[in-house]
Assembly symmetry: C2
Homo-oligomer: 239 residues x 2
DNA sequence: CGGCATCCGTGACGATACTG
DNA sequence: CAGTATCGTCACGGATGCCG
């Protein structure tokens, strides 16, 4: 739902905007694509969102079947929010938005916040065609992504029937999950043994994300250190 | 601009939402993807938008390089709004949103407005792989689309450098334009001789749009009348 | 502490009326 | 026809407070 008011148009794009057209909603989805997050983590990685708006969005998203709220296992009892399958199906939307926005990214403004995992979606594009668990180390932090784990395009409408509550929970992000389920990227180091570890500085990562610099060229120029023994690491070093 | 306030995040998706995250903006783009439109036409096909908000959005979009305002040729002096190349590059975003929203379209509610050309984007998906100028006739009206005229996915960042004003104007929608330029669909009958004409009722069009019914199956079941002599029409009849 | 609810000032939105 | 002007309402952003 946008603001509580619907567009009232019999059009699938308008219906989508009824659900995710509200301010902050798609950015919350971007955060949750990295896996289950606590309220405070979300609030920290979404600078500018007020506490009540965040709580309100999370409630609306749960009502619309985009997220579920789960109590963490025994130790460290806390709530985490995670995407349902329907919510995770928004990945292509964020990818399309990100691809379009790259042309206008420009230089980093002094007021711009940055989080390491915000580079995950663009890097996933740069790694299109590759497969494997990749850990990325930036000055801002570490994140990981599972290249080839999800179709980059065309998730399509072949998923859940509607926004009914009670959708199946989004599978956990444990290492070793099969392709297609679980988050395609996540905050922090990779859970298991990564197939490749990329170390690079922010400028290089930005250039790759914007498409100004090919990942292989960056490796060749020594602007990306590639470690790891997986076939993906070998391919990146050789290319 | 979203609301005039930016998210202030160095993230391409957030930057995209700075430009098109405002209420109504993406639906205005949906309308303009059908080709140049006048203010009053936009207002008529966007039920619920107030006049000042529409004017404000059009101003913002022009400032951000998404649209241009042009004075129509000599006779019938009026202004038309049309997308720039950068604005037209939002097609994949609307397609991703539409694909995601199809699962939640459901039945038409009594309060839902409908316009014939809102079926253009879903039908473009149903015609993926085909090429040709198609005219679609519904009870609600007639529209046309150019299948195969634009890449359905991956327009990517390889377009204009930024939202600087003064971008090249969007090419006219004259018939016979090469692939890639000009609107991929439009209101009213096709400008030139269509390669195929599809006549169908709203329920059938809805089922096809939602992916519940394959276009070829609908033709086979007699729910879509296909006329025309183009190879596309022949393929649809034979399939 | 994490997870909100409440209050408040500003501004965006929606409807109507009005003007060039 | 193409907007601008006005106005009430509601959403947003920021700060604070409550409660487990």
């Amino acid at each position: 739902m946008p603001p509580r008011r619907s567009y009232d148009q019999y059009c699938s794009a308008a219906r989508a905007l009824d659900s995710v057209g509200d301010r902050w909603t798609l950015l919350i989805v971007r955060e949750l694509l990295a896996g289950p997050r606590r309220y405070t983590d979300l609030h920290a990685d979404l600078p500018g969102v007020s506490t009540d708006v965040l709580a309100s969005r999370l409630r609306d998203m749960e009502r619309d079947g985009l997220t579920t709220r789960r109590r963490l296992p025994p130790p460290g009892a806390a709530h985490v929010y995670e995407l349902t399958e329907r919510g995770g199906a928004l990945l292509p939307v964020l990818q399309a938005l990100g691809a379009w926005g790259e042309a206008a990214l420009g230089e980093r403004r002094p007021t711009d916040a940055v989080r390491a995992h915000w580079f995950a979606l663009p890097l996933l594009r740069a790694l299109e065609g590759e497969t494997g668990l990749v850990e990325v180390r930036l000055d801002e932090g570490v994140f990981h992504l599972r290249a080839g784990a999800a179709p980059l395009h065309g998730v399509g409408p072949a998923d859940v029937g509607g926004p009914a509550p009670g959708d199946g929970p989004y599978p956990g992000n444990g290492p070793g999950s099969g392709p297609g389920d679980g988050p395609v990227y996540g905050d922090g180091p990779a859970g298991g043994e990564p197939d490749a570890v990329l170390s690079l500085d922010t400028d290089t990562c930005t250039a790759i994300s914007r498409g100004d610099l090919a990942l292989t060229d960056a490796v060749r120029a020594g602007r990306v250190r590639v470690t790891g023994d997986g076939p993906l690491a070998k391919r990146l070093r050789e290319a």
